[in-house]
Amino acid sequence: MSAPASARPATDEQDVSAEGRQAFESAARACYRQIGVSFPERVVWVPSPLVGAFAAPIAACLVTGHRNGRVLDSVHRAVDGTAGETIGRAVRDAVRAAADGVAGDPVHGAAATALHAEITATADTAPRGTPTGTRATVTEAADADVRSAVDAAVGGARQDTIRGAIRLLWRACLPGIRSTPAAWWWWPFRDFVLLCPPPDELRREQVGEGDLARLRLHCPDGPAVTWVDGFGLYFWHGTHVPRAVVDDTLTTDEIIREPNAEIRRCAIERRGWDRFVTEARLAQIGPAAPDPGNPGQTLTLHDVPPGVYPTNVRVLLCTNGTVERDGTRRRFGLTVPAHCTDPIEAAAWTYGLTPAQYAQAQRRS
């Protein structure tokens, strides 16, 4: 189908240069000045929003006097176990850079945590970014996937200070400052600031032509959005989906039970109707019919039970008229109206022909 357009993030999504980082830090400094809080000495760039979401609350706990090393180790192990060791290592590095050696001061406890409410209030003088377009899509998807990762790591029954802080503070980040695009997220705290750059790579496809052409996030065989530490977001033709959809590792039952209809649709498309019809044992409607003009090939029509696909459809399974490189012919499914009762009628409908017209086909290539 389409060749995914791979690109470094563009528009307000350029490479993060040292100057860009400096500019962002200056803008962040201005926000602190605005609310009369001195800018922390510790400014730490994290590789991905996932690392920031774990590292900011953990560092906040440490600088407010949390001293339980056993809990800290157990939280780090939970992050390693759910988000992977690369993310886990980056979290430990960021926590160390933000909190090591800061004198713990339990007295100002809560005041030492996130400053985002006050900084948000400085919006008039410090122009903040309201994400739009691709950036808004990435932000929303990153938020959802970070939430899942946080739930997986610390959402269980275990209760302790650090887990509680992560559950509460992972979202204590602000969108980047529009005039200085080096950071898309930042976590402003009293004793440190964590900053996160835009994704390292975006993969998109073009839809439409000419004036109507636009790009949407899509990658058929990996993450469409990636950060340098490997944290990635998965998109199927513009729809944010779980990794298992793109990796095509869901069972048929998992696809059918997926509560989100759009994700279910993407999972079926990713698998391909030809496989899904067989694996889900979708009932065949009427007998198979020889495909006119396509010697030796047949058409079959299958029912799609209500609730499996977002719209009421049947599926016509067809075979390409031309052989593939490996000598096989590609099988594929097309959705047709649910009132179709016979494969020829269904095939004819796809081209706006009558069944009698379709039956006259001389050749398919």
Binding site: M1, A5, T322, E324, R325, L334, L353, Q362, R364
Partner: protein, 134 residues
């Protein structure tokens, strides 16, 4: 009937390497399909706009790939549909003595005999707005 090799030489378009270069291209006047494009014989107003030597991309694929390109030897005409009918791409008229071809990298050539035809696209129920793209 010309072979795929001969058609490649005449029109300068390329098709996938694994397709048999010596296969002959049937030149037909009936209903034919090239993937998601149909060539439907019609009786009606003939087309009047000559097909340029470079051809007419009747369906443009992504990133220049998978385009269905309409080309011809002899007098052949194509009028893109302006009526807004979703499936109709336009009207093709092939004069006596001429031959038109739809060329596509994966489907090779569809040979079209003299006559007037509607070129149509394929649709799916799932997304009535989005036409099938192969």
């Amino acid at each position: 009937m010309p072979t795929i090799e001969q058609a490649i030489a005449v029109f300068g378009v390329t098709v996938d390497e694994h397709l048999d270069r010596q296969a002959e291209i049937p030149i037909l006047s009936g209903l034919q399909f090239q993937g998601d494009v149909a060539v439907v014989p019609v009786t009606g107003e003939p087309a009047r706009t000559p097909i340029p030597t470079s051809g007419v991309p009747v369906v443009r694929g992504q990133a220049q790939a998978n385009t269905h390109l309409l080309v011809a030897t002899g007098a052949a005409f194509f009028s893109p549909d302006r009526s807004g009918r979703a499936l109709v791409l336009g009207v093709l008229t092939v004069e006596e003595g001429a031959t038109a071809y739809l060329a596509h990298p994966e489907h090779a050539f569809t040979g079209i005999a003299p006559g007037t035809y509607e070129l149509r696209r394929q649709r799916e129920q799932a997304d009535q707005v989005q036409l099938v793209a192969d």
